[in-house]
């Protein structure tokens, strides 16, 4: 716990009614991570470490809240930087949501808790 650091952000993403919204997760700085999702408070699968993962069709997602929890572990001895970029596709535009935080010690943990509100 002493080494854990936390980052949270809340964002809005405009969807298109007849297109699937897809999530990708890029973990940078040669670090390692795992991601899990909640859609409107219920678990949804995230099958591979980076995606892509279909969240749902635009018309079904308007007014929904996607919570993305990405836990990063520092395995790169060259740096304590961690960075995670969540990318949403299939909406009005493809948007990247980059975030970064340094762990306080080697092999430390960074928790990224990112919320997306889907709008029309």
């Amino acid at each position: 716990m002493a080494d854990d650091v936390f980052l949270s952000s809340t964002n809005f993403y405009a969807v298109v009614s007849d297109r699937d919204v897809v999530l990708r997760v890029f973990t940078g700085d040669e670090q390692v991570s795992g991601t899990s999702l909640l859609l409107n408070g219920s678990p949804v699968p995230f099958d591979s470490p980076a995606g892509p993962q279909v969240i749902g069709q635009g018309k079904d997602l308007v007014g929904s809240v996607l919570t993305v929890n990405t836990t990063v572990r520092d395995v790169n001895p060259a740096t304590n930087h961690t960075s995670v970029t969540h990318v949403l596709e299939g909406g009005l535009e493809t948007r990247a949501f980059p975030h970064a935080i340094d762990v306080s010690a080697d092999k430390g943990t960074a928790h990224y808790l990112v919320t997306f509100v889907f709008t029309a």
Partner: protein, 378 residues
């Protein structure tokens, strides 16, 4: 990520000679005596090595701003050379690389290898005497031209970590599920702003991750267990190169500088899970007090397992001056683990001139590996 290198027993902090099975007097330290194999490997910090110092405090900035702070802190000393300054940095890692996944580093081009492994080092230190005070400054660089590929065991370790971290993140969401629903409802109803929502989510996660249910969970413990045994190892062909140059400043005055000496190192090697072949080459423009140029080179082959290691090493030293003969050493070393951190070490061979006392190497000893790293991974 830097080059993996097998180093036989170099990190052992304590060695006790238990018995001598043949003539084994202290080695005669003449200038022709070849240096120990590990001392001529490409150094991690060439500037420190050239000055022959091991700074107790090294500044290692990892952002442009921390680099600026480190340099500006010394900029006020304009007339004199700062004493005991040591700085080491990796330019590539001064900035973040948000799209560089660990899978992108399984193999490297020459350019990628140079960029990701390059380090710069700068050091100052007192190198004169009480009567003739001299402060020296050295600047060095190091990089791997080739740095092999990620070991299969490391790739598997990272994939296992990804699965374990996914389970850990799922645990976090399960423990926060009800509060997340409530906060989402408040956000959608316009009762809290996005900024307020993010702040409350952050506080929620801090509380949950700090809880006993999280920290003592099977999911978190599984990650910790994997992290304990994880090591980022690379295998294949490596070529590390380094260079450093040093200047001397009598009375530490900037204006009275003179060139001191320079050195260059190269370490080609080939690593497999059990076998390694390591070559070393080092040039020093002034290797001794008389100012002789020296060229050292050597070769070591090692076979290692969890329980034992066998190695053969050869080191040659040559001087530019005809008045100083060269020398070489050829030694075989066997190590056997007699406990978790205790190793029986036997070495046999010849050192330097065969006519000199102490040229026969024959030793049997115990070594204790408190660091738990049998072979150092750089």
């Amino acid at each position: 990520m830097s080059v993996r290198a097998l180093r036989l027993s170099t990190s052992l902090p304590l060695a006790i000679v238990a018995a001598c099975v043949a003539q084994a007097s202290a080695q005669t330290a003449g200038p022709e005596a070849p240096p120990a194999f590990n001392t001529i490997r490409t150094p991690t910090s060439p500037a420190f090595t050239l000055l022959g110092i091991e700074p107790s405090s090294v500044e290692r900035p990892n952002t442009p701003s921390s680099l600026a702070v480190a340099l500006l802190g010394r900029a006020q000393e304009r007339e004199t050379v700062p004493a005991d300054f040591a700085l080491e940095l990796s330019p590539y890692w001064l900035v973040g690389h948000p799209r560089l996944a660990w899978r992108d580093d399984e193999t490297r081009t020459i350019g990628q290898s140079l960029a990701r492994t390059a380090t710069l080092s700068v050091a100052t230190g007192a190198t004169g005497t009480k009567d003739v005070p001299v402060t020296s400054l050295a600047v060095g660089g190091r990089a791997s031209v080739f740095s092999g590929h990620l070991a299969a065991s490391t790739t598997k370790g990272l994939e296992d970590l990804e699965k374990a971290l996914q389970a850990e993140s799922a645990l976090g969401l399960r423990l926060m599920q009800d509060q997340i629903k409530a906060l989402s409802a408040q956000l959608l109803a316009g009762e809290i702003s996005a900024e307020e929502h993010a702040r409350l989510m952050n506080a929620l996660q801090r509380a949950v991750v700090g809880s006993k249910a999280y920290m003592e969970s099977a999911e978190r413990k599984a990650v910790e267990k994997l992290m304990q045994k994880f090591a980022a190892n690379r295998e294949g062909f490596f070529l590390e190169v380094a260079g450093a140059a040093g200047w001397e400043y009598p009375d530490a005055v900037w204006a009275r500088h003179r060139f001191g000496r320079w050195g260059a190192w190269a370490t080609p090697s080939y690593q497999t899970p059990h076998w390694s072949l390591v070559g070393v080459a080092r040039y020093l423009s002034k290797a001794d007090d008389a100012g002789h140029e020296a060229m050292d080179f050597g070769l070591r082959g090692t076979y290692s397992s969890d329980r034992y290691a066998l190695s053969l090493e050869y080191v040659h030293r040559g001087f530019s001056g005809a008045d100083v003969p060269g020398g070489h050493r050829f030694v075989g070393i066997a190590e056997y683990g007699v406990g978790d951190d205790t190793w029986l070490v036997a070495s046999f061979g010849r050192d330097a001139a065969t006519q000199r006392e102490g040229s026969l190497i024959a030793r049997l000893g115990l070594s204790f590996n408190f660091s738990k790293e049998r072979f150092k991974v750089d």
